[in-house]
Symmetry: D3
Subunit: 237 residues, 6 copies
């Protein structure tokens, strides 16, 4: 039995609310159960120096967590003076995931920065962030299209993410914090709408796992991401 009484292949209640802030070109407030992330997409004309003059753009991400998003208050990274290793890992993952479905040439010499700020954390903040980031990115690109700033299609597919793990010997989908902290194995899957794999990160927390276990998790992830992509489609309809 899962602590949340969900079925093994059942996502938490997911919602994707668009246009939640006033200034950003695109935004999404994404909830995976009690995990809540505010995502904004910002269009800027400046590019990172190493990309200048190459006739293509860039999509990057930053990730943060409000100090009391968690059960215990965590120290503000601005006050600590640097981003933690975990923060850096996650924001690099979000950026790579989005770029996998973006045509950077079609974007032109511009940068879109996607900010994912966790308001409340109950496990799976990175997968919720990626799933919501696609919506914010979509709306930022729609904003640009409405202003005739784009020639072709920039967004080539959906991308969404979910975690799976082995909990009490059972392969389960979309771990919440209670499950995540006890899981034997924990894997994050980033998949496209067409079913392509963008990123797989699997970690044995206690015992190494087998190939069969891993494939079971991948099957669950396919199911979960399929559902998340449907929700993205409904959200931007």
């Amino acid at each position: 039995m899962r602590p949340s009484h969900r079925q093994p292949d059942e996502l938490r209640a997911v919602s994707l609310e668009r246009a939640v802030v006033k200034y950003a070109e695109g935004s999404c407030f994404v909830k995976f159960g009690d995990t809540h992330v505010l995502v904004t997409a910002t269009l800027e004309d400046r590019l990172p120096p190493w990309l200048k003059g190459q006739a293509r753009g860039w999509v990057t991400a930053e990730y943060g967590m409000l100090p009391r998003a968690t059960s215990e208050r965590t120290r503000r990274e601005s006050s600590a003076g640097k981003q933690s290793g975990r923060t850096v890992e996650i924001q690099r993952l979000i950026g790579r995931s989005l770029r996998a479905v973006v045509d950077l040439e079609a974007l032109g010499e511009r940068q879109i920065t996607v900010d994912c700020d966790v308001i409340q954390a109950d496990g799976g903040t990175r997968t919720a962030s990626i799933t919501g980031a696609w919506v914010a990115l979509h709306d930022c690109l729609a904003w640009m299209k409405a202003r005739d700033m784009l020639r072709g299609e920039v967004l080539r597919d959906h991308v969404a993410a979910v975690s799976c793990g082995v909990h009490n010997g059972l392969a389960v989908l979309d771990l919440d914090y209670a499950e995540d902290s006890q899981a034997d194995t924990d894997a994050n899957f980033v998949l496209t709408g067409k079913g392509g794999i963008v990123e797989i990160q699997g970690t044995a927390e206690r015992e190494p796992f087998s190939e069969a276990q891993f494939l079971a998790l991948l099957a669950l992830a396919r199911k979960g991401v399929g559902r998340l992509v449907e929700l993205q489609k409904m959200a931007v309809m």
Copy 2:
């Protein structure tokens, strides 16, 4: 005429929503028009080293702004590696304002940290933060009372804040960003429920101002804070 068509002594629409996050002992989502701040109050047993063993507690505040809370994206302070001077000034002001109405001896040897995170900024983020922080602090103390952690009354009064300024020659209450960026004079007033002055910060942005002008601003502030304190009372009823 004010850009927002408000009367000179008219606040923006103010709302104070309580218990908006799952983990914090107290929280408040405060809106002053399009300025939105999420405030949480966290109770901790540890004290700053210089306060240990003095049989009293501490209330402190931290302030942050999401990168796209503003019209232009601002760089994340965790990535810049330090808090700006403006951030430091504001969080010190919030902390002092709350402590002015708190009986630190009655709190006991504990610290309450109030985090004010600006989700959207349209002027007056520090005054909205203080006004909402009182609600979050109130609820954190209520949480403690419900657990028999307090002997006496910790909160001695209300405290709330509002900005006033001279805009197009007219003294006006509760400046939004459009007014603030054009104001000749800008002052922030932190007052208690009983009308005591906790903090006054008045700055001549262009021309020095006269005592008469300053007193006109103070009169407006009294009116505004009176209304904010009523809203705090209704919120925690």
Copy 3:
């Protein structure tokens, strides 16, 4: 009775010595009793990036304190790796105060940096700094005039500052450290030679204060700044 036996409206002995260092375009060694600050004004051709090409200049300030300016040695900020919140607040205040009496267009595309370094601190370092900074700035501008670098009058008025507070129930002028550390209310006033208000910062250290108390402090400040402006006039004569 004040610890220093001064009358309630009596300044400490104030001196403003000019041209105290060899290299700076303007300088002033200012003493408010045992509070001693060395102020230098440096002319530079470079401007902050956000001000370039706007046909006007900038006046900014930096503030520091020697480690043993105080009763207990304080850690060197260069060794701590960052400026404290207090330092940042004070240097921003000094810069704003000076700019309130400067015609930035008449200055042309140049920057004057005013460095205020506290050699000895006995309360009121920020007000002494502002008062001395006006002299150093005046002399830097005189240096420029002597070289035909200025077309019009850059300095539109005097500016000086003083602290007032309520000590043992008595409103007093120009607090020294012994008074400041026990004051119920502490306010800094920055006023111009013509009596305009540039900045008011009033803080209730213990109990909130009333409007009447505040106006009594302002009246004292007017008297004190009037005397400081006379001393500035004599100094630059």
Copy 4:
């Protein structure tokens, strides 16, 4: 054809030289072709604060690269003042990989820090580091056994790592830099001697990849790690 003329399932020349420095309790100079990493294992009595008094130890890793380990000189991280996101990601991966085969209770309340310093980089520095780190850790534990510091067996299995990728449409084992920089898909596999999966990190560099492609890479990785574990066995014989 691979740039190095290797077979698709052929590792580079791998060597694992032990006891290469004078002071460390364990050390290994590992070469995967032109990728050379010096690994040392240091035994210390102190533990990270969050682990104290739990009757178990810790194994952690740090990773660095000499400035001219690469084709272009990279800036020294000590001079940049912080570790890059890439460095942080890699050292966390090495630490997790080693802990997957260590019995932390059997280690006792001690910490072993494994330093992996890249002398020369030609792709696969993290997989070479993990493979060599196992040898250095083994020797550090042997040093402890020789001094009767351990009660039971700390090291439960071998662990080694290899990268695989799709290069010119062909799944290949142990990518060097020339292949890595052109690969469509790049995955790192950390496996145990018994064939358990410790960590999988797969990233689509250009196009998302399919499950079949991923399984082909995993099969190659099994073959490669099998050979690396044989080399570890010979090295410590």
Copy 5:
């Protein structure tokens, strides 16, 4: 001819003023011509962690320069966020020089921190600092003696320092900035009152120098330090 018209073996006008600040246990305002340094000595009970419980004390130094001590304004190190290599080198030298004449056992488990802050720089700031630091240290120890805090004699000898160099082919004593910036060879000598050598730092700025040249500089230094020690004796008489 020297730019200053001094004889080759002539010091600049040197003055050593004691007790120049209010709080420090010892202080000295030292002038070597236009080089002016304020030195304070602070007594503290705490010791660096590595020295605790060894029944002896420590003398350390810190060095700083006001931003406009120099012809061009230099950036404040607190704002740059770190001390320059030059600052670190100099403060380590000052500390070593003082410790060479101090009996750390006789000092007891206490630390004296000597702060050398350059008010105006015209060459030789480190040698002026050391020479003045001896006076401030002497007075700090006198302050302790007057309070019966010391059992034996802590200060075993005088220590003073001077620079020498080859300028226009001529060996000269006590270089000012005009000479220093053109010197072929530049050496700093720290010597004791009894003539012992504490530190020699000689650097060939352009051409390597010979042993004969070096010995000529050492002879000049002996003469100069002899005179500086006389001045120290008169100062503390």
Copy 6:
């Protein structure tokens, strides 16, 4: 008797191995007994900003130590967030020493960065670094000559370094760690092939030393550097 049973004027076994890494334009693995340093020389087209457009180049050095180069593990400077004072002192010394034998005009507008990374430390890491750095620099310049990048001779002489000290009352050459930690006096000498003095750094660790003692150390250093220059000549033959 020396701990190593060497004669007072006997160097440790010294070796200078060239071309030890793949990418650097010049490199040398230098051993002074158990002190092992990897030196690389990197040619870059960019110059420090203050040197641009002056028709001459620059040679600079950086120094680092692997965490377990020493008996106790030292914290990684990249993780500490800054370079220690010792590191800064040493890298500045190496740079100055090399520039003393380089014709910067003949180098042209380019920079050579010499990285000295200590793999194992047993005393004398800075003198080993300088001695090996000359070889790496030589080879970098040979690489440039082979590509017709240089018009004249850049390297005007050899430069090498050695430490000397007084140990148990005996003046000895090339101190290892056992001697260095007990020496009364410790001096580093940087000399050219023609016998010119580039840098002398002598420090009294316990008692001040006499001129006669100092000259004895210099005589030993001449002998040692003479031998090191012979070894450099054989290495680059």
